[in-house]
Amino acid sequence: MTGQMMKMNDAIVMDNLSRNYGDVRAVDGLSLEVPEGQLFGLLGPNGSGKTTIIKVLCGLLKPTGGVAFVGGYEVGKSDGKVKELIGVCPQEPAVYSSLTGRENVELFGDLHSMPKEELRRRADYYLQKLGLAGDARRRVGKYSGGMQRMVSLIMAIIHNPSVAFLDEPTVGMDPQSRHAVWDFVRELKAQGKTVILTTHYMEEAEELCDRVGIIDHGKLIALGAPKELKERFGAKDLEDVFIRLTGRKIREGA
């Protein structure tokens, strides 16, 4: 498959994508397309391969087999172009603890060479939106874990990427913060961005995602809209879908 063969409105295409860690196959022959502007959820227990998929799509890991395209550019061959299109919020709140919240956010705007004025305006907007405006000049090391995750989220999208990868963005957050992040994610979708959200919170996926892919042991075991999947498997929720597919609860792990 080539970029030219992709459907015009596909933001992400994976074709028979695999990734091994030594003898362990973390991603196993994954084929999937995500149209532009879709909020797509990758669901699965810890260790199912969700984060590995994100890392491959971001150019952090080279695929062992198959190909992946982001925004029409092949991952591994045009990583520079891919990195201009994407914003990544990693699972761990990767922030500089000795910098302030604003400095962390502005650093990532600088790394994407954003116009200064736009950077300042967007930083103000998102710090305000996620309730961090009053703490923006405090060092992030003094923030709570939830606040650090909020900063990490803003760092991922400050440069207005067309594709956002949000890897477990609400882990460890209190319900109030989680709902603030949900609003934030909905806004990204409303802006027409393609959002790839990994989570093991089924209610989060049901609440936010247009379509979900359920991953287990590196394989895609189900794909569809949350409502469609529930209907197909006669399940009351996505957790139930996972149980019917694997015989395990999603939080029991792989």
Binding site: C58, G80, Y96, S98, L99, E103, D110, H112, S113
Partner: protein, 387 residues
Amino acid sequence: MNARRLSALVKVNIKRIVREPASLFLVILFPILLTAFFGLAFGGVGGAQTTYQLGVVNLGSPSPLGPWAQAFVGNVTATRKLQVQTYDSNATAQIALQQGKLSAVILIPAGFEQSVEAYVRNPSNPAAWQVSTVQLYIDSGSMFAVQAIPPVVQGALTSTISEVAAQAASLPIELGSPSLIQVAKFTAFDYMVPGLFAFSAIFLTMLVAQSFTMDREKGLLRRINTTPTRASEFMASHALSNMLLALLQVGLVFALASAIGYHSQGGAFSLLFAFVMVSVFAVTCVGFGLITATVAKSSGAATGIAFIFIMPQMFLGTFVSANVSGAMATVGRFVPSYYVTDALTSLFLRGASPTSAAALTDLGVVAGVSVATLVAGICLYQKYGGS
């Protein structure tokens, strides 16, 4: 190379060091404290010195000293502030002064005896006096000697002719304006300072190693790798920020050492050379830091492993190595800090020119080692240390 990204990353690196107390101590406060400690301990500075060595040269006859001159020298000695050593010639006394054996030299003029005697005969008739001048030379590097010695000598001179001095508005013998002599009196501290520059910079190795391992632990390196930032920009930002820190260290160490009483034999050009030399050496430290970060599994381990690079450089290539045995001195030629200290010693202690072959050779060696170490560090880190 994107200047915006480079500048943003350099600012981040500097801010992190300035805002982390442990890093700030290592890079800024530690060199300052070390310089202050060694300066005060070995610089021969302080208010405790109450006696000074005074060289006396009798330029006239009879030799060795006439009765009035003897009385004058006796009065000087009686102050107990000056210990007198007589010299046969001005030349030998000046050499002793320049070597730091003396704090001051006085020249008793040929007409000293006649001046006093003429004065005694006609104390109230200045027209009959034979005025002569006692020349005084003082070590310009000793602030205390410059201030303390002239009044002591003047007092002794006045005492010598005290009986008539009270009646006269002036004296037949004047004390000449003190000539301040730049002496080559080196304290132990003077020998240490060139090595202190290198000593301060070698700890950058630890900071770089800690920074890379900590960022790796936190996932920051991976995160930056999802942006358009190139590896070359990221590495260059570390090299640049550490060079800037090294420049700051040189400035601080030199300023503080000078304030304490460091006798630098080099001028502004030598200081500029020191800035260049130490900033180039900082690149070596970045390379060693990357190698350390490649091997270290955690930032804690990086601190320990960094000493593999720091210790040999400290003991064989800084002021600590001043008294090592011949064999160890030879081994010292294999550590880059040796060449930093060697060049700066030539400049600041021996007064060599920054364009001398020796200094330029040392700079060339450090530059070569810096490039090699940085390239090795980047290659090793990218191949084995990034995960």
